[in-house]
């Protein structure tokens, strides 16, 4: 019985792979195919390196008094008002608004800062147990099942993107498990991305009509983000570290 089901399973997988490849080929052709939505990855198929997810942050469009992205992230992932004992310095922040002012020129910009989902993440390098890891599609996550709470990843992250949970939590959301004694950070809303959705911050920014955040597949040259990145300048934060971040910034 197990043999049969395995055979069916692998045949189905092979078919789906071919279907996926065909869809990809079709999308390269010009015209109407470009607007065809990508075929959804079936829930039983693993993510692959054919995709690499990224976000472009256009600081020219980011409004200084707006923190819709932060609010949306809190709402989606259930952080923000969940830690009642922790001091402000101890509470988690997955994404934050940062205001920067150029010391020489006085130029001011604001931008959201979160996990940059590096191709070569220092947090993954230093993690002793492999709890900090990068998925095939470039999303950097913490496997809280094997996180021992040593916090070395927080020492290693150049972007201060990670937080440690200092107390017991209750009423977590099913799609965003988080708990005491482990480290957490932006997941690029992996629960949404796996269902062909868009991260909550990006969605919220569009809803505000700011459109400062563009999300998409960096490996697909026809995606919105790839075309936008090809069209005009953008930078990586701490580009000197050569981490090839998935999150890129424009206008600073």
């Amino acid at each position: 019985m197990s043999d049969t089901s395995n055979r069916i399973d692998s045949a189905r997988r092979a078919f789906l792979n071919k279907a996926g490849a065909a869809a990809g080929a079709a999308a390269i052709a010009p015209g109407v195919f470009l607007t065809t939505p990508a075929v959804a990855r079936p829930a039983d198929q693993p993510v692959s390196s054919e995709k690499r997810w990224g976000i472009l942050v256009d600081t020219n469009k980011c409004a200084s008094n707006c923190d819709a992205c932060v609010t949306a992230c809190k709402d989606e992932n259930g952080w923000g008002s969940t830690e009642h004992h922790s001091s402000q310095e101890q509470q988690s922040q997955w994404i934050r608004k940062v205001e920067i002012r150029n010391r020489s020129t006085g130029f001011v910009a604001t931008l959201p800062l979160m996990c940059q989902h590096c191709e070569h993440p220092p947090c993954v390098d230093v993690c002793p147990t492999g709890a900090s890891f990068k998925r095939a599609d470039g999303i950097v996550l913490v496997d809280k099942h094997i996180c021992i709470g040593c916090r070395y990843c927080m020492m290693a992250c150049p972007y201060k993107a990670r937080s440690f949970i200092h107390e017991d939590l209750e009423d977590q959301l099913p799609w965003a498990p988080r708990g005491k004694g482990t480290v957490e950070s932006c997941t690029l809303c992996v629960q949404r991305v796996d269902n062909d959705g868009t991260p909550a911050c990006v969605e919220a920014c569009s809803a505000e009509n700011h459109n400062a955040l563009v999300f998409g597949n960096l490996n697909d040259e026809n995606s919105d983000i790839s075309r936008e990145l090809a069209r005009a300048e953008s930078i990586e934060l701490r580009a000197d570290l050569a981490l090839n971040t998935g999150v890129r910034y424009r206008g600073i």
């Binding site: 079936p42 693993p46 017991d168 099913p174 799609w175 269902n195």
Partner: protein, 171 residues
């Protein structure tokens, strides 16, 4: 799947096998007729679903192997983004959480509730619910949300678990 993931999976399985060894040995003695822990005297917890609705596997299999299913699903979902729902912990909670008289859900790990009653009896300390939701949330949270597609409740790939198949052969 990368080598590191395989290594992790193997060591994880070894570890769980090691921990479950005493349990398996004692279960072997009873075998066939008795369910594991069938001498357990406790109030049968209320269940969200009807009593006639089947679990994802026969009760005897679930009592012995639910932790394997969850562990396997955990690594698949976490590291490979496989989001089938048949063996997901969330679906366990969705089905097995009971409601109180006011019609509100009681956490599955509260005293005498589905997860805690048996684990207390078997003296098993689990830390699933340090992080995971203990009540059904998805349906109520999604009311009035535009992005309902972000959290579909069903999906393909709800085939029987590989463990289940092999367990069936072994017995």
């Amino acid at each position: 799947m990368t080598y590191a993931m395989v290594a992790r999976r193997v060591s994880g399985l070894l570890l769980s096998a090691l921990l479950l060894l005493p349990l398996a040995v004692s279960a072997e003695d009873a075998e066939a007729e008795n369910l594991p822990f069938s001498d357990l005297t406790m109030t049968e917890p209320e269940r969200h679903v009807s009593a006639t609705e089947e679990c994802v596997a026969p009760e005897a299999v679930m009592r012995r192997n639910h932790m394997k299913f969850i562990l396997h699903q955990r690594d698949d979902t976490m590291h490979r983004g496989i989001r089938t729902r048949r063996y997901s912990l969330e679906e366990c909670v969705n089905c097995h959480a009971a409601k109180n008289e006011q019609g509100e859900y009681i956490p599955v790990n509260a005293e005498n509730q589905f997860c805690s009653s048996c684990h207390t009896y078997a003296a098993v300390n689990i830390d699933c619910f340090q992080c995971h939701a203990t009540k059904p949330v998805r349906a109520s949270r999604l009311n009035g949300r535009s992005a309902s597609a972000a959290h579909p409740s069903g999906g393909p790939g709800n085939a029987p678990h590989p463990f289940l198949v092999s367990e069936g052969n072994a017995q």
